[in-house]
């Protein structure tokens, strides 16, 4: 069945996933495979006095134990950072080395100190408990606002004040001037809570070495195998690309946490070479909690200046961003170029200035997590806009409308570097308000009040930037990689198609969505199209999947490659049909001489290309196999409005979401069913951040207090309402499909909408701010203190 763009095609990959026939890394077992277990630091900060492994080495089944000294002796490099940020004064960020195994000091609970390799996993685990590490514990600091205070423990002796960089964007003087003389200034101190990613599949790796060829292979749960090949090969193991293959098979969720090059990848690959046998490591869930890069963790002060009519005049933002104990692969970019550049939001604020300090602490490294910087920006803006509406006694929807960028203003240059190409924030706001029955809300509030409940409604009109680009601009801003994408369309001799994409699907449904692009263009059923990803030996090249880039960037590369296939097909058809190439048109899977019924089916052209008996061999190569690289001209800018309605139990402080409405602009939509699924998942994560999730470290010891699902609260089905979702697409103007990306929007819009609803419900009590997550006790305390204050 042909399945064109816009059809809600059922996901081709689901049958294998739902019937347990997917192949995840842990499903792969290589002949002679050994098993690794890592010895990890129990301390947030300590000096490693001694690693004593002799007793462990004699334990049953143990093949090898390595610590940092072994890796240094072997000449291994350290884990590289993929994006360097410069401070205000032009100086480069502090970039202390991130060793594969801790050298001299451990810098967070879970920091790997040694790798134990044995015949079985149990044996490796038994032996790992016999490795004696003599630590001298040192004072630690885990909270970002503590770490910058004078006299606090330093994560690196060479980095004063724990400040990795002190970055800024925008012009300060006009912002200060506007704030000084504005009719209204709204101020907000706000925390963006740290999150633990929790992909369903924990990280897992197998390193392998072929003693015959000297080739290495890494099977890895990653979102971007080519990037891992480059990072690990060039910087850590010093292996050229042609001697290193990276395979990312089926991967069970990433949300950003599987973008980065992790120590365990390098350790198992190197060890496989040392031992001449494959080495497998699979994270335990409790290890994931202390070793997967975490998300968010900002402390921010913001000031919004408005004129007497509520027009935004200026926004000033100062943010402390927690980077953790080491710089993770893309960490520096997240609270800078993916955060502060979004501070205009959907509004015409003419002057914006933001300062961001990236701060080391004795915690697990922080990096991009679903939305990466954009949820932090959107949450801040949408909270302060709501505060302003309350201060000016304006309808929050009306205040937003007064400040939205006009639909006629595109391209729109913001004061913080980005230029938006298209959008229509008015329509998505109106749609969301209508679907949420905004007009009837006060009646519902009154009815809830009669039941003793506090009801509130909140909205967030978010914008995000997807598909970091163009490469040249990203490079000028510190990116150490290109940000294009690659696709190859291999037409097989009998007419079926294999697509090779440099993006990676770990839940997104690319095998279906990308097949629809081919189906639309070549007029063939999706059953005849296979989409292959996740193997550097099969895919020409690619940068992987993150930042909602796969369709805007990878899809665009695929369209370019399809163009080449069709163009070559026309040449072949012209020869076979004895017509001029200019007279050949391609439609519905057929090459036709314009104005005639003379035609060749796509399959006939494919066959002729591979069996070129009647073929213009003098002018044209045989075969029908085309590849394309696509470097985007700009980011894409999905946007929309989310509306949340909550009820608060006055006795317990518990929040229940009673309705959630989303109206999103994702540009053109290829598969509306997959898009709806992405929105639902994003909303669940955004609601999780707002109400439930919080990664907490003990302030004194740096111990992780939320180290399992007993204490780290993931959102569950009964925490969520039935979502009402709708879309209104304005086309992206600079990519061939007009697509914008949809993977992160839910997590970006939801936190602001939920918290604005909570604070709307609490407004009658005079409560103006609560930080996420809005846990029952926090709300109960705020209500109790207001009641006490009123009574006094």
């Amino acid at each position: 069945m042909s399945a064109p763009i816009g059809a809600p095609v059922r996901r081709k990959e689901d049958h294998r996933f739902l019937t347990g026939r997917g192949t995840y890394t842990d499903d792969i077992n290589r002949p002679g495979q050994l098993h690794a277990v890592f010895v990890r630091s129990p301390h947030a900060h300590a000096e490693i006095v001694r690693v004593e492994a002799s007793a462990a080495k004699s334990a049953p089944g143990v093949v090898a134990i390595y610590s940092s000294a072994d890796l240094v002796a072997a000449g291994l490099g350290t884990l590289p950072c993929g994006w360097a940020v410069k401070s205000k004064d032009g100086s480069p960020m502090a970039e202390p080395p991130h060793p594969v195994l801790a050298q001299g000091r451990v810098r967070h609970v879970g920091d790997p100190v040694a790798i134990v390799i044995a015949e079985s996993r149990d044996q490796a685990q038994e032996a790992s408990e016999r490795v004696v590490v003599d630590y001298r514990p040192l004072p630690s600091v885990s909270a970002v606002d503590e770490a910058v205070k004078p006299g606090k423990p330093l994560v690196y002796d060479s980095v004063p004040g724990n400040i990795c960089y002190d970055w800024h964007i925008g012009e300060q003087a006009p912002v200060d001037a506007a704030i000084a003389k504005a009719a209204h200034v709204v101020r907000l101190d706000i925390v963006n809570n740290r999150l633990i990613p929790n992909a369903m599949e924990p990280r897992a790796y197998i390193g392998e070495f072929d003693r015959g060829t000297g080739d290495y292979t890494l099977y890895t749960t990653c979102q971007n195998p080519h990037a891992i090949r480059l990072l690990m090969g060039a910087f850590v193991l010093h292996l050229p690309e042609h001697k290193l293959r990276v395979v990312a098979p089926d991967v069970g969720g990433g949300f950003g946490s599987k973008i980065y090059h992790y120590a365990e990848e390098a350790a198992v690959t190197w060890a496989a070479g040392q031992l001449g046998r494959p080495v497998k490591w699979v994270a335990e869930r409790s290890e994931s909690f202390v070793s997967d890069a975490q998300g968010r963790d900002h402390v921010t002060h913001a000031e919004l200046a408005l004129d007497k009519d509520g027009k935004f005049l200026a926004l000033k933002v100062a943010t402390l961003a927690n980077l953790g104990g080491y710089i993770s692969t893309f960490a520096p970019a997240v609270p800078t170029y993916l955060y502060a550049t979004l501070l205009a939001g959907t509004y015409t604020t003419p002057a914006i200035y933001a300062e961001v300090k990236g701060v080391f602490t004795h915690t697990v490294p922080v990096d991009a997590y679903r939305g990466a910087g954009r949820p932090e920006a959107s949450y801040l803006i949408e909270r302060i806009v709501d505060q302003a509406a309350r201060a000016l006694k304006l309808d929050p929807a009306e205040l937003r409308r007064r400040n939205f960028i006009a639909t006629t203003a595109y391209p729109y240059q913001t004061p913080v570097a980005l230029a938006y190409d298209s959008g229509d924030y008015f329509t998505t706001l109106d749609m969301a308000l209508k679907d949420a029955d905004y007009a009837g809300f006060e009646q519902r509030r009154a009815a809830a009040g009669r039941q003793g409940k506090l009801r509130g409604l909140g909205m967030a009109s978010y914008i995000e930037a997807c598909g970091v680009a163009p490469s040249a601009v990203a490079g000028a801003l510190g990116a150490r990689a290109g940000l294009y994408e690659v696709a190859a369309v291999r037409v097989n001799p009998t007419g079926s198609v294999t697509v090779l994409t440099g993006t990676h699907s770990h839940g997104q449904g690319h095998e279906t969505t990308f097949a629809q692009l081919v189906s639309e263009r070549l007029g063939m059923p999706v059953e005849n199209i296979d989409v292959v990803h996740g193997d550097t030996a099969r895919i020409p090249f690619g940068m992987g999947t993150y930042g909602s880039r796969s369709l805007p960037v990878g899809g665009s590369a695929l369209v370019k490659a399809l163009d080449k296939v069709v163009n070559k097909g026309k040449k072949i058809a012209a020869h076979l049909l004895e017509a001029a190439e200019a007279d050949i048109e391609f439609k519905d899977g057929k090459f036709t001489v314009t104005g005639t019924d003379r035609a060749k089916a796509f399959g006939e052209i494919a066959f002729a290309a591979y069996v070129p008996h009647n073929y213009p061999l003098d002018e044209l190569e045989p075969g029908l196999d085309e590849a394309a690289f696509y470097d985007p001209k700009n980011f894409t800018f999905p946007s929309g409005t989310h509306v949340c309605e909550v009820e608060i139990d006055q006795d317990t402080g518990e929040v229940r979401i009673v309705a959630f409405t989303a109206a999103d602009d994702f540009g053109r939509i290829v598969n509306p069913m997959i898009v709806e699924g992405q929105v639902h998942g994003g909303l669940a994560q955004g609601i999780g951040q707002a109400l439930l999730e919080e990664c907490r470290y003990d302030r004194a010891s740096g111990q992780l207090l939320t180290g399992s699902y007993m204490d780290y609260c993931m959102p569950r089905a009964d925490n969520l309402p039935s979502f009402k979702v709708a879309t209104h697409g304005t086309m992206c103007t600079h990519n061939p499909l007009g697509v914008k990306g949809c993977g992160e929007a839910g997590a970006i819009g939801a936190p602001g909408a939920v918290m604005n609803a909570v604070l709307d419900a609490l407004a009658p009590l005079g409560i103006t701010h609560i930080d996420m997550p809005a846990s029952p006790e926090k709300i109960w305390r705020a209500m109790a203190s207001r009641r006490t204050a009123k009574a006094a």
Partner: protein, 264 residues
């Protein structure tokens, strides 16, 4: 998980024999606490004696004015039992809200009571209903059974065989779950039998306890209003990142009032 000897005795006597004299042997009922503990290598028993094959320990029956639940009866069976729903619907309701479906299809009444997790649901019901814990050696009154955090009156080689719950006039259980683990931050079970009212509280303190001030007030008038001024002291209550002692104390009052209202 460390290695251990695994046994599946067919009778209570054989189970008692299997653990006799072994300091580090563990009885396993549903395993809903023990198995995760083993998987995390937090326990290293020499022997695990699985009670799952002892048919005598399973089942629910009405015995005079009491409901007797075999120690190895799963939460799902209690929740769906017409006998329990007819006689003590509050107890079926309690069982229906323990953990999640997977836990309810493995976890057992006896296992929960013997473990005495401070946040488990059953202890509140056992105390409020004035249940009797029957073991292979004796009968223990509810008030004498729960001794402290994860501590009970059970001897090392003593095995719960059944729990006998007297049928009250009316009863109800209300819990405020921990949002992450869904264990009770506070759970309050109220039961009225004739003029006597018993209030069992779980989650709030290191071990389940009776709220006797509320019992006195409710014995005079079984209404929410009767306890609106009864303050649960926060002294000695649990405190963690999810709920302070002060908040738990407050929730004891809220859940008690709601339980009274629910009991009707």
């Amino acid at each position: 998980m460390y290695n251990f000897e695994y046994q599946q005795p067919k009778s209570v006597a054989d189970a008692a024999k299997a653990i006799a004299g072994k300091a580090d042997a563990k009885l396993m009922a549903g395993g809903m606490t023990l198995i995760p503990t083993l998987k995390q290598r937090l326990a290293k028993p020499t022997d695990v004696v699985d009670l799952g094959k002892i048919a005598d320990l399973k089942g629910i029956k009405k015995d005079g004015n009491a409901i007797v639940i075999g120690a190895m009866t799963r939460h799902a069976d209690v929740a769906s039992s017409d006998v329990v729903k007819g006689a003590i619907p509050a107890l079926a309701d309690l069982a229906a809200h323990i953990g999640d479906p997977a836990v309810r299809n493995r976890g057992t009444c006896g296992g929960s009571i013997a473990n005495n997790d401070p946040a488990a649901d059953y202890p509140a019901g056992v105390l409020a209903l004035n249940a009797t814990i029957v073991t292979n050696k004796r009968k223990i009154a509810a008030d004498d059974f729960f001794k402290g955090m994860f501590e009970t009156a059970l001897a090392a080689d003593e095995i719960i065989t059944a729990v006998s719950f007297p049928i009250p006039e009316k009863a109800a259980y209300m819990k405020f779950p921990n949002p992450a683990s869904r264990y009770a931050i506070v759970g309050v079970f109220v039961a009225k039998t004739g003029p006597a009212v018993r209030v069992g509280v779980t989650g709030a303190a290191p071990s389940a306890f009776r709220q006797k001030d509320m019992e006195a007030a409710l014995s005079k008038s079984f209404t929410g209003d009767a306890i609106k001024d009864v303050k649960q002291p926060q002294n000695g209550l649990n405190a963690d990142i999810h709920a302070s002692a002060e908040y738990r104390a407050h929730l004891v009052g809220v859940m008690a009032k709601r339980a009274v209202a629910k009991a009707g």
